[in-house]
C-alpha cells in the first residue's frame, strides 16, 4: 500500500487519531451549532410561509438534511467497510461500525419528521411510497449492521463481518428503491410528492443548504467522539490507553 500518503498512514494509528479527534471534535461541534443557529433563524424566522403548506413546510429544514445524512453516512460506512474488509485497517473497522448508530439516528429522525410532516400535508402519518419505504428499509439495514456487530465476541471480527453486510446493502438499496417504485405504480396508490413545489424560493433555499452543512459538521463531531471511545476499548491492553486510564480514570 505504497500509494497511501504518509500523513494518512500516521493518522490511522489509534493513539494519533485519538488525539486528533479529541482536538477536532469541539471545533466540529462549534461549527455545527453556529450553522444550525444561522440556518434555523433563516428557516424559521426569515423564510416566508409556503403558499400551499403554510408553516408546516418548515419541517423541511430538519427533514431533508437528515434524509440526506442517512444516505451520506451509509456511503461513508460503505467506503470504510470496504477498506476494513479488504485491508483490515483497525481505524476503518472502527469508523464503519461507529457510523452505524449515527446513520440510524438520522434515519430515525427522517422517518419521524417525515411522518409529522405527512399528517398535515397529505393527511396521513404513513404512506408506502418509494422514498419512505426505502428509508424504513435503510433503518432496518442499519439495525442489522449494529446487531451483527454486537453478536460477535471479538470486536474486530464482528466489525469485518458487519462491514461485509454493509457492502451487501450497498447493492441492495437501489434495488429496493426501484422495486418499491415499481410496486407503487402497480398498486395505483395515492400519489404524493414530498416536495410541493419543485422549484424552491431562494429565501427558503439558503437556510436548507446551511442546515445541510451543519449536519455534516455535526456528523464529523459525533463520529470523532464515537471512534475515539471505540479505540479505547479496542486498544485497552495498549500502553497509551493504560497511561490515559491512569490519568483520567480515577
Amino acid at each position: 500500500m505504497k500509494w497511501i500518503p504518509r500523513w494518512m498512514h500516521e493518522l490511522s494509528s489509534p493513539p494519533v487519531f485519538y488525539r486528533f479527534a479529541g482536538v477536532m471534535r469541539p471545533w466540529f461541534m462549534g461549527f455545527a451549532l453556529l450553522l444550525t443557529a444561522i440556518g434555523l433563524y433563516g428557516g424559521l424566522v426569515l423564510a416566508p410561509p409556503d403558499y400551499q403548506q403554510g408553516d408546516a413546510f418548515r419541517i423541511i429544514y430538519i427533514h431533508v438534511p437528515s434524509a440526506e445524512m442517512s444516505l451520506f453516512v451509509y456511503g461513508v460506512m460503505a467506503i470504510a467497510g470496504f477498506i476494513a474488509v479488504v485491508w483490515r485497517i483497525k481505524l476503518a473497522e472502527s469508523v464503519a461500525m461507529q457510523s452505524a448508530p449515527i446513520g440510524a439516528a438520522f434515519t430515525f429522525i427522517t422517518l419521524v419528521t417525515g411522518s409529522l410532516w405527512g399528517e398535515p400535508t397529505w393527511g396521513t402519518w404513513w404512506t408506502w411510497d418509494a422514498r419512505l419505504t426505502s428509508e424504513l428499509v435503510l433503518l432496518f439495514l442499519y439495525l442489522g449492521v449494529i446487531g451483527l456487530f454486537h453478536a460477535f465476541e471479538d470486536r474486530r471480527q464482528g466489525a469485518r463481518a458487519a462491514s461485509f453486510l454493509v457492502l451487501v446493502g450497498v447493492v441492495n438499496l437501489p434495488i429496493v428503491h426501484y422495486s418499491v417504485q415499481w410496486w407503487h405504480t402497480l398498486h395505483q396508490g395515492t400519489t404524493v410528492r414530498l416536495f410541493g413545489p419543485s422549484s424552491i424560493e431562494g429565501d427558503m433555499l439558503w437556510p436548507l443548504l446551511v442546515m445541510m452543512l451543519a449536519t455534516k459538521f455535526y456528523w464529523a463531531a459525533s463520529l470523532c467522539g464515537r471512534v475515539r471511545t471505540d479505540l479505547l476499548s479496542i486498544d485497552s491492553g495498549k500502553h497509551w490507553v493504560r497511561d490515559l486510564a491512569d490519568r483520567e480514570g480515577r
Binding site: V137, L138, F152, F164, L165, V176
Partner: protein, 228 residues
C-alpha cells in the same frame, strides 16, 4: 494418486447433504407444517369471506413460505461448523464457492421444494384462482432459490456468532423486500388479468445474477466469520 474431479466433488457434497436431510426427514416436514398452520390461521383472523381471502392469498402464501424458509436457514451451516465438516470443505482442492453452491442447492431441495409443492394446496385453501396459482408456483420457483442464496450469505456472516434467529430475520428483511415485491406483484397481476411476465422476468434476471454472486459472497463471508 487420483486427484478428485470437480464433478465428483459436487456430486459428493450434494449427495451427502441430501442423504443427511433424508436421514432426518422429520425435519423436512417441519417448515411445511409451519406453513400449513400459519395459512390456516389467516381465515380465522380475517373471516371466511372468499373474495377477501382470494385477494390476499398470493401475498399470504409468499410471506408464509418466506418465514418457513427463515426458520430452516439456521441449519444451513450450523452442523457443519460444529462437527468440523466445514473446515474439511475449506481444505478440499475444489473452489469453496462452488461447494457452498452445492450445499445451498441441497438445502433448497430439502426445505424450499416441499414448500413449493404444498403451495398450491395452501393457495387454494385461500381460494386463489387457478391461473394465479400457476403464476404463484412459477414465482416461487424463482423467488425461493433467490431467498436461499441471499439467506446463505447472511447465515455465513452469522456463522461465528451465538444462535440468533431474530438477527437473521432483521438482516434478511431489507434483502428480501424486492423479491417479495416482484413475486407478489406477478401473482396479483395474474389475478387482475394484467401481464405478469415483467416481474417474473425480473426475478429470473436477479436469480441468474445471484447464482453467480451469492456463492462467492458466501465463501468470502464464511472466511470472515470463522476467522477466530
Amino acid at each position: 494418486m487420483r486427484p478428485g474431479s470437480l464433478r465428483a466433488a459436487c456430486a459428493a457434497i450434494l449427495r451427502r447433504d441430501l442423504l443427511l436431510a433424508w436421514r432426518r426427514r422429520g425435519d423436512i416436514a417441519l417448515p411445511v407444517l409451519y406453513a400449513l398452520i400459519v395459512t390456516t390461521l389467516f381465515p380465522f383472523a380475517l373471516g371466511p369471506d372468499t373474495a377477501l381471502l382470494a385477494r390476499v392469498a398470493g401475498g399470504v402464501v409468499l410471506v408464509t413460505v418466506l418465514l418457513a424458509m427463515l426458520l430452516a436457514f439456521d441449519a444451513l451451516f450450523r452442523q457443519d461448523l460444529e462437527d468440523g465438516s466445514l473446515e474439511q470443505l475449506m481444505l478440499a482442492p475444489q473452489p469453496l464457492a462452488l461447494m457452498l453452491g452445492m450445499k445451498i442447492l441441497a438445502h433448497w431441495l430439502s426445505t424450499a421444494l416441499p414448500l413449493i409443492i404444498v403451495a398450491p394446496v395452501l393457495a387454494s385453501m385461500l381460494h386463489l384462482p387457478g391461473e394465479a396459482i400457476a403464476v404463484l408456483v412459477l414465482a416461487l420457483l424463482l423467488a425461493t432459490p433467490l431467498l436461499s442464496l441471499l439467506g446463505a450469505v447472511l447465515v455465513a456472516l452469522t456463522a461465528g456468532t451465538r444462535r440468533s434467529g431474530m438477527l437473521l430475520a432483521l438482516m434478511l428483511l431489507p434483502l428480501c423486500v424486492p423479491v417479495v415485491i416482484f413475486a407478489a406483484g406477478a401473482v396479483s397481476a395474474a389475478q387482475t388479468g394484467l401481464p405478469w411476465i415483467a416481474p417474473v422476468a425480473w426475478l429470473a434476471a436477479a436469480l441468474a445474477l445471484m447464482l453467480v454472486l451469492a456463492p462467492l459472497a458466501c465463501a468470502a463471508a464464511l472466511r470472515i466469520a470463522i476467522d477466530a
